[in-house]
């Protein structure tokens, strides 16, 4: 307990150093583009595949579970849309990113720590935390909400695909359901969640990497801790944001 509080303090102190003005704007922009590619663009394939499949599964599960003839078939589309936008495309996608991006960041920064590359920067007078971490937090927090949108659209398309393959309902019933009681606010809510989750993932895994010690084993350990801690933080933040925004 005492150790967790100390770590929390250390995390906030690190964030204070991260959020300072970069030494050189040009260098920051360069890193920002590199990290956008590494953290955001490179996540597109896995998120795309998972979204299509989950969209399809949600549609057939809902369709097979609606047995009562009193419930209109278009509810399948409605349910698929709501589960995708409310939880899957933000929270589940963020948990997947916590594994993929989180371990990537913490092992990258961690191996720079144990091979003294961070010392080399600090020794030159460079704010290494700012140089290494700020572009990662910034690019993921800014662009990942677009990943959420992409995941949403692909999930709906996955649903449409399985409908045309199996014919559990008709496409026009599906599309009627998708438009039923549509609230733009939910998309906004989900994008906000994704931005917060991305901040959590990038900052927490950077923290664990930055303070890695104990050789390559230590880097592995810090990477595991980063994933666990970001996942827990995502679930907590999900509760808080939902209470605040949907209440």
């Amino acid at each position: 307990m005492k150790k967790s509080l100390e770590q929390l303090g250390q995390y906030f102190l690190l964030m204070k150093i991260v959020f300072t003005r970069p030494d050189k704007g040009r260098i920051f922009r360069k890193q920002f583009f590199i990290d956008t590619e590494k953290l955001v663009l490179n996540s597109i394939p896995i998120i795309a595949v998972i979204s299509v499949f989950i969209g399809a599964v949600i549609v057939i599960q809902t369709a097979y579970n609606i047995e009562s003839p009193l419930i209109p078939k278009m509810y399948v589309g409605y349910m698929a849309r709501e589960s995708l936008v409310l939880e899957f495309c933000s929270t589940m996608v963020a948990l997947i990113l916590a594994g993929k991006v989180g371990s990537n960041i913490s092992s990258e920064i961690g191996s720079m720590r144990i091979s003294e590359q961070i010392d080399a920067m600090e020794m030159m007078g460079i704010n290494s935390a700012n140089y290494l971490i700020l572009p990662k937090i910034a690019s993921a927090t800014i662009f990942n909400p677009l990943l959420m949108l992409m995941s949403f659209i692909l999930g709906l398309l996955g649903g449409a695909m399985i409908i045309s393959l199996t014919g559990v309902i008709t496409l026009s019933q599906y599309s009627e359901g998708l438009q039923y009681a549509f609230r733009m606010y939910y998309i906004f809510y989900s994008m906000i969640k994704m931005a917060v989750f991305s901040f959590i993932i990038t900052s927490i895994s950077s923290y664990y990497g930055y303070y890695a010690d104990g050789g390559s084993l230590g880097v592995g350990r810090s990477s595991t801790k980063a994933i666990v801690a970001s996942s827990v933080a995502i679930l907590l933040a999900n509760l808080v944001i939902t209470q605040l925004m949907l209440n």
Binding site: K24, E116, Q117, A120, E122, M123, M124, I126
Partner: protein
């Protein structure tokens, strides 16, 4: 000149540096020798501010480095080059980008000026046609050379080397030692080198300090290293059977 006064450092209960006072002069290679774990790296990193000492003073010429803030230290740090034990080259960058790194941050030079300086530094450490290689494509000795090139990129007044020979074969070790020594004389740099290699001591040690369990037990020049009456130093210097034999032959 660098002056260290009564430096103390603990890690928890581990008393790593005990009341260290020493001076380092320009144009000289000052060696810190001692067994593994004796505190050499911690001393070196404390000198450049990578470890915060518990007490004591560190002076770079007229500036009291130990009481400056991170931002105030920047000005001194631009005049410091450091070669790390494992070279610590940035593995995300090419050789050229590694050497250019401090220039990108701390100069307003044009691209061509930077390239010229990069090539000058690489040339100085006898490296050619490696600009576009990644660090993991280089041998250990070449990595050390790039490390030195990066350390001298901004024409430092002070140079720190942590075990420049570790992991190198004896011949390459001597070449790296000589390179550091030449550069030190050529640019009148204040150079501090950690080592546990007695060959280096004999090759380039202008001044030698022996550190044992965090204490500076002996100081002198390389000739006297072999004839001191410091017991701990003797058992360090004459650790190997060959060294003992040489000592017997010397009488």
């Amino acid at each position: 000149m660098i002056q260290v006064k009564n430096l103390e450092k603990h890690f928890g209960d581990n008393h790593v540096l005990k009341n260290i006072s020493i001076k380092y002069r320009p144009g000289e290679c000052s060696l810190i020798i001692g067994a593994s774990g004796s505190g050499k790296t911690v001393l070196l990193k404390s000198l450049v501010g990578l470890h915060e000492p518990d007490s004591g003073e560190i002076w770079y010429d007229k500036v009291k480095f130990s009481s400056l803030s991170f931002n105030e230290k920047k000005n001194i740090r631009k005049e410091i080059g450091m070669l790390f034990q494992g070279s610590a080259l940035f593995d995300f960058a090419t050789v050229e980008e590694n050497v250019r790194f401090p220039m990108d941050f701390f100069t307003e030079w044009s691209e061509s000026e930077k390239l010229e300086r990069v090539n000058f530094c690489l040339n100085r450490v006898n490296l050619k046609n490696v600009n576009k290689l990644m660090p993991n494509e280089l041998s250990g000795g070449m990595q050390k050379r790039v490390g030195i090139a990066r350390a001298i990129a901004l024409n430092p007044k002070y140079l720190f080397c942590d075990e420049p020979n570790s992991g190198l074969d004896p011949q390459t070790s001597i070449l790296i030692d000589q390179l550091i020594s030449e550069i030190t004389k050529e640019y009148n740099i204040t150079t501090v080198i950690n080592t546990h290699d007695m060959n280096s001591v004999m090759e380039i040690g202008d001044r030698v300090g022996f550190i044992h369990k965090g204490e500076l037990l002996w100081e002198g020049d390389k000739e006297n290293v072999l004839t001191s009456d410091c017991e701990e130093l003797n058992s360090f210097v004459f650790a190997s059977r060959m060294a003992k034999k040489v000592k017997e032959m010397m009488g």
